[in-house]
């Protein structure tokens, strides 16, 4: 019987990784939910736009490293490259909006036409990403690898079980919280944020009050560009960059947005953590945890893993199905900002 060790194991292998992954999903889902509430369509290019933004950050990182600008050996250089990525992505998304989506807005096309158009953008973005950086995995993490390592932790506490906090995970959690706070402050406290919420609630009423729709749409794309670059870079720092992985994030991100309630920013954040914790909790091997808690002769023989890791999509899907069946509007009754 050793509850402390059990807790340490779970924190090390489940809670910290799931919290980091959940933060990445939440940032992604925030972008999806924002586009849904302002532009009113499901943005299928989100994963690939994220990959493209991360690619820009990676190239900038390499550029910075080659001219000797780094994070001082402590922070990853990629953090310095994020602003460049955001600027490029704002340009990219605004050009896409002007060339593609604006026309459909003007003719008041059906939502699914917008979705189709986002498929086209997805193809092009995906092609560009693969053309520029290829399909293989890239790691661009530098600086200090750990906030504290397993050995540090053992020295401090004298426990046999180890606990490590990787810098990428730490940075992810801190950045995500900061970004979310800033976004919620913007949406609830500033005039621009309020106009966005008004537009999302009732388009006609917002127009009557003199809100310029094109300006709201532009602001939405600017915020989305920042969110995708930050989320993508954090995910890449944490797990490495491969374009296909970003495409596959589409399902958990949409699931997070729907679980929380499409159009509800708080819902997107909560949904991100719900999806991440269930995905990792169900595919986690609980043997070490139980062997610490139970007496030795009752220690489990197997892995005590509910599902193999390959089936994490199945968990996401199951959550999605449960929400669709029991509460189709999501936890926070979505549809507006």
């Amino acid at each position: 019987m050793d509850p402390v060790s059990a807790l340490v194991t779970v924190t090390n292998f489940l809670l910290i990784p799931a919290f980091a992954y959940g933060s990445q999903l939440a940032l992604g889902a925030l972008g999806i939910t924002l586009i849904y509430s302002i532009l009113r369509f499901s943005h299928f290019a989100h994963g690939d736009v994220m990959a493209f933004g991360t690619m820009v950050v990676i190239f900038t990182t390499w550029g910075f490293q080659s001219i000797g600008i780094t994070g001082g050996g402590i922070l990853p250089t990629a953090l310095l490259a994020i602003p460049v990525g955001i600027v490029v992505m704002i340009g990219y998304l605004l050009v896409a909006d002007r060339l593609v989506y604006r026309f459909f807005r003007k003719v008041k096309a059906k939502p699914l036409t917008f979705v189709m158009a986002s498929l086209g953008v997805m193809f092009i973005t995906n092609g560009l990403t693969r053309l520029f950086i290829g399909t293989s995995e890239r790691r661009f993490e530098d600086g200090e690898r750990f906030v504290f390592s397993v050995r540090d932790f053992r020295e401090w506490t004298g426990l046999a079980e180890g606990l490590a906090l990787r810098s990428a995970q730490f940075i992810t959690i801190i950045t995500a919280v900061l970004v979310m706070v800033a976004l919620f402050w913007f949406l609830t406290r500033t005039k621009s944020g309020k106009s966005m919420r008004a537009y999302s609630d009732n388009e006609d009423l917002a127009l009557l009050s003199g809100i310029n729709p094109e300006r709201v749409v532009t602001m939405a794309w600017v915020i989305v560009a920042s969110l995708v670059v930050i989320a993508g870079t954090l995910y890449g720092l944490d797990k490495g960059f491969r374009p296909i992985n970003y495409f596959q994030l589409l399902l958990p991100m949409f699931a997070a947005a729907i679980v929380g309630g499409l159009g509800s920013p708080i819902g997107a954040v909560v949904g991100g953590y719900v999806v991440a914790f269930s995905e990792m909790g169900i595919t986690f091997a609980w043997r070490r945890f139980f062997s610490h808690l139970l007496p030795d002769d009752m220690a489990p023989a197997g892995m005590v893993q509910l599902l193999p890791v390959d089936y994490k999509f199945a968990v996401t899907f199951a959550i999605l199905v449960l929400v669709l069946v029991f509460r189709p509007t999501g936890i926070f009754r979505g549809k507006s900002i």
């Binding site: 193809f123 092009i124 995906n126 693969r130 053309l131 290829g134 399902l251 089936y311 669709l324």
Partner: protein, 434 residues
């Protein structure tokens, strides 16, 4: 009935392009393109039923084709008797118990009064069912995978004629579609899209992971084919005689004959499907479907059960995709789960439907042929283009080498551009709906 010369002309142009490929490149290439475009046409037809007739947005085409491909393995491949002996019963019992658990939980949910007790009962059913199912399933699959793992290690199939697998593949896809549709139809249209995206990822994960079923990532190769293989055609005297008369090599002749066999089979299936689809579209049922698509509220006011009709058409369209998936696997003679990529198997089909003209069966067929042709030929074209663009760079420039290696991806950009241009300037497609 008047002949629409414009459409005949478009198909004629497509045929001319294929003949040009045959003349300039090779007959084999032209037939390979033609066979795959016939399969793509069937997939596009299935998607067109969902999108064009009913306005349903399915982004899980990849999953439905893959599950159709699985049927070919389960029907056509001879059974591995040793594996059946060591674990066949346990594996199947485990799967059945897993399904029974889900149904058990559903029954508890329906029969018991809402409350804490019901929640606890559901959790108990799921946990106990799960443990019992695992108890039979895990050792059985381990044993199956241990049987001759280099070439077998799976249960094999029923060893029936492989052509039977085509309708079975359709049935499999229909079952998957029923599950998805039951949950997500009747809600907002985007939800169906996300749900289909999910189910297709799960189907691929199952195919990759469940090695006892179809060898997972180790692929099943050498699946029996419905058409005699070129290798078996070569020794035939009439083939050699034909080769001598045409002045081709024997191997080339045999390959072309075999491919022609597939072309004939696929053309028969496609023809039958188009005939059925056109009949359906022009029947009262087809008019009802279009009425529902164009104005759901009005259709509902007329007493139509919109959700049920949507479920019907969704299952029907997915079944057609499953059929096409089964045909594709029997054309390749192998099932390779890793090769299923959403861009190629889901989104490319969407480009075909939109470019061809949604709502028009002939449009989907033409779109499928044109886009598949572009997809195949855009790869060398992309390389040539990149070679030209980078020709000013130094011969051993790293950037040039990189761009040349990655140039195959330019076809994604071409596809995306084609889709966007069609949506913007010709949203009704090459052959618009009547």
């Amino acid at each position: 009935m008047t002949v629409n010369w414009r459409n005949v002309g478009l198909f004629g142009a497509m045929a001319l392009v294929l003949v040009l490929v045959a003349a300039l490149q090779s007959w084999q290439l032209a037939l390979t393109i033609l066979n795959m475009s016939l399969i793509s046409a069937i997939m596009a037809l299935g998607v067109n039923m969902q999108w064009g007739y009913a306005g349903l947005f399915n982004v899980g085409i990849m999953g439905f084709t893959a599950v159709g491909g699985l049927a070919v393995v389960l029907i056509g491949v001879p059974p591995v008797t040793e594996a059946w002996a060591v674990g066949g019963l346990g594996a199947i019992l485990g799967v059945l118990l897993g399904i029974a658990t889900i149904f058990g939980a559903m029954i508890v949910y329906q029969r018991m009064a809402p409350g804490r007790l019901r929640g606890a009962a559901i959790v108990a059913v799921v946990v106990v069912g799960w443990i019992v199912a695992r108890y039979f399933f895990a050792p059985a699959t381990q044993a199956i995978q241990a049987v001759n793992p280099a070439s077998e290690g799976f249960l094999g199939g029923l060893g029936l004629p492989v052509i039977l697998a085509w309708p079975v593949g359709a049935l499999f896809a229909a079952a998957a579609a029923w599950m998805v549709g039951k949950v997500s139809l009747g809600l907002r249209s985007d939800y169906l899209a996300i749900a289909t995206l999910g189910i297709s990822e799960i189907i691929i994960a199952v195919l990759k992971h469940e090695r006892w079923l179809a060898r997972g990532v180790n692929n099943v190769t050498g699946i029996p084919r419905p058409v005699t293989r070129p290798v078996d055609l070569q020794p035939q005297p009439w083939v050699q005689e034909l080769a001598a008369r045409l002045g081709w090599t024997v191997s080339e002749t045999a390959a072309i004959l075999s491919a022609l066999g597939y072309t004939a089979l696929f053309a028969i299936v496609l023809g039958a499907l188009i005939w059925l689809a056109e009949k359906a579209l022009n029947s009262p049922w087809g008019r009802m479907m279009r009425a529902i698509r164009d104005n759901e509220t009005a259709a509902r006011a007329m007493g139509k059960n919109v959700t049920k009709r949507h479920l019907n058409i969704f299952i029907l369209g997915s079944a057609v995709c499953g059929l096409a998936g089964a045909m594709m696997v029997s054309l390749d003679g192998q099932l390779t789960p890793v090769s299923y990529e959403p861009l190629r198997f889901t989104f490319l089909i969407w480009v075909m439907v939109i470019v061809g003209g949604s709502g028009n069966n002939w449009g989907s067929v033409l779109g499928a042929m044109a886009i598949w042709f572009l997809w195949v030929q855009a790869e060398p074209a992309g390389r040539a283009f990149m070679d030209f663009v980078t020709s000013w760079m130094h011969e051993d420039s790293g950037l040039r080498a990189h761009l040349l290696v990655q140039s195959a991806h330019t076809r994604l950009i071409i596809m995306g551009t084609a889709l966007l241009l069609m949506l913007r300037f010709a949203p009704r497609g090459l052959i618009p709906e009547r």
